[in-house]
């Protein structure tokens, strides 16, 4: 559905993307993770045809991105962090413009607003919406024409946890409908919760790519087990036979309150690979 081969992009003498390779299958949620300035937005701009690239091949809807037609663009929905809404227009009027452009029936407007939880705010001017509601309005605009591919650039950036959760549900609902979703984020919890595949981008280079669990497993060098004892003491044991016997005996003595394995998360993997944190500014 989407693929990039050996993609390069520079701005004057600064290389922003270097040798990018990945592919996304139909119905997958692909997460591009990286700190601010890693090149996420540049990559999404290139894939959506908003920015030319220097070298390589980009394929969207199984077509060269440079050959996408107007009809193809109707199969794509894009929500960029920087995209605006018509402040003076109500939510419904905002969607009406795009319903007319995409040739979608006006009945879909209320349906879509209902799906994103904005039905009650249909008549409210966009200028009166909170940041979370505005993000949902933007999602409604993206979802309304039922695109096959959805690009979301930092869809939950700066939102409260509850709104973030609502947006995650909406994204997962779209996946169930068969949409292919490409999202950029610097939130590793979001990526783990939503994505079938992630790519870790650092300074324009993909340093790791794969299913989140596989990536995490691959870098699980420490393999430790953490025990919290009823005495309040925390015990860290290596992942071996000797520990099994110790855990067994502690359990027999009813001294164990909780047991956790200590596999790394995507944040730790990113830190190990790049020496940088995902949330770094």
């Amino acid at each position: 559905m989407i693929s990039c081969r050996n993609l390069y992009k520079s701005f004057s003498d600064k290389t922003v993307l270097s040798g990018i390779n990945f592919s996304i299958e139909d119905g997958e949620i692909f997460g591009l993770l990286g700190p601010s300035g890693a090149g996420k937005t540049t990559l999404i701009n290139i894939i959506t045809g908003q920015l030319p690239f220097d070298k390589g091949y980009v394929c969207v809807l199984d077509k060269n991105v440079k050959e996408l037609t107007g009809e193809d663009s109707k199969k794509i929905g894009i929500m960029m962090d920087s995209f605006g809404v018509y402040e003076r227009f109500s939510c419904a009027d905002n969607l009406k413009i795009f319903a007319d452009i995409y040739g979608v029936s006006h009945d879909r407007i209320i349906q879509t607003l209902e799906a994103v939880g904005l039905k009650d705010a249909a008549g409210k001017p966009a200028s009166d919406l909170s940041k979370g509601m505005r993000a949902r309005l933007q999602l409604a605009r993206v979802f309304m024409h039922s695109p096959k591919i959805i690009f979301l650039d930092e869809p939950t950036s700066g939102l409260d946890p509850q709104t973030m959760k609502q947006i995650h549900h909406l994204i997962l609902d779209k996946k169930k409908e068969g949409c292919t979703i490409f999202l950029t984020t610097h939130n590793m919890e979001e990526a783990t919760a939503l994505c079938d595949k992630v790519a870790l981008l650092n300074e324009g280079v993909i340093v790791e790519c794969g299913a989140p669990k596989e990536v995490v497993r691959k870098y699980n060098h420490q393999k430790k087990i953490k025990l919290h004892l009823v005495t309040g003491e925390d015990v860290e044991l290596p992942h071996d036979e000797g520990s099994a016997e110790r855990i067994f005996s502690l359990m027999i003595e009813k001294k164990v309150e909780t047991i956790h394995s200590s596999e790394p998360d995507l944040e730790t993997v990113f830190l190990e690979l790049t020496g940088r944190k995902l949330e770094e500014a």
């Binding site: 908003q50 663009s73 894009i78 605006g84 227009f89 413009i97 007319d100 452009i101 040739g103």
Partner: protein, 227 residues
């Protein structure tokens, strides 16, 4: 529905919400009605205020509103959303131009109410022509400016020259010598006689050159800056 009509419909919906643009369309027609009815002085030419304000209307309303609408959409990134939704730049610009031209023509129709019926078709045609040149100039500014602030600072001097030069030219010969090279001044002369005979071939040539310059500048700005 084709994208040009979508843009026009969007703008119509925005007309009464966007007070800063609305005032541009309403101010001169309202002033004309008030002044024509309120001020009557001996020796004052017939339809003096209609003719004066018509020229100022041409130099102000289409220029400022076209520039303001385009630059606002650029600043708020709604234009990018439209373009990503497969609205072509020419469809957008045509939609905005048709909208601005139509509203200006409605304003002109209000201003024309005081004119003799026989002069109205010629007056409307001339106004329509003047609006087209001003819209092209306004679109240039809108395309070039990255935000509304830049747009306003660019539009102001152009608008002052185009709308006020013809008025000041009535009182000062030196200003008239400069103002005669602007289409607004030539249109003011046309309105004096309500025929192109008043300006002659030279005046018509100046209007044509102004139109060509605006069109050329529009294409150069568009090619260089895109939307």
């Amino acid at each position: 529905m084709d994208n040009v009509s979508v843009i026009i419909k969007k703008q119509i919906r925005d007309t009464f919400k966007n007070k800063t643009v609305l005032i541009q369309f309403v101010m001169f027609p309202a002033m004309t009605l008030i002044m024509e009815n309120a001020i009557k002085m001996d020796g004052m030419p017939v339809n003096f205020f209609t003719k004066l304000f018509s020229v100022m209307y041409i130099g102000m309303a289409p220029l400022t509103s076209a520039a303001a609408i385009i630059s606002e959409e650029k600043e708020k990134n709604t234009l990018r959303v439209l373009l990503m939704a497969n609205v072509k730049p020419w469809e957008y610009l045509l939609g905005i131009s048709v909208y601005v031209w139509t509203l200006c023509m409605l304003g002109a129709a209000v201003m024309a109410t005081g004119l003799p019926a026989s002069d109205i078709p010629f007056y409307m045609m001339t106004m329509g022509l003047g609006f087209i040149i001003s819209i092209l100039a306004g679109a240039c500014v809108g395309i070039y400016a990255k935000n509304q602030m830049v747009s306003t600072s660019l539009v102001m001097p152009v608008m002052m020259v185009l709308s006020f030069a013809p008025m000041l030219a009535m009182f000062n010969d030196k200003i008239e010598k400069v103002a005669r090279f602007f289409y607004t001044q030539q249109i003011r002369v046309v309105f004096n006689t309500m025929s192109f005979d008043g300006v002659g071939g030279k005046g018509l040539l100046i209007i044509a050159v102004n139109a060509c310059l605006a069109l050329g500048l529009f294409f150069v700005t568009f090619r260089k800056n895109r939307l």
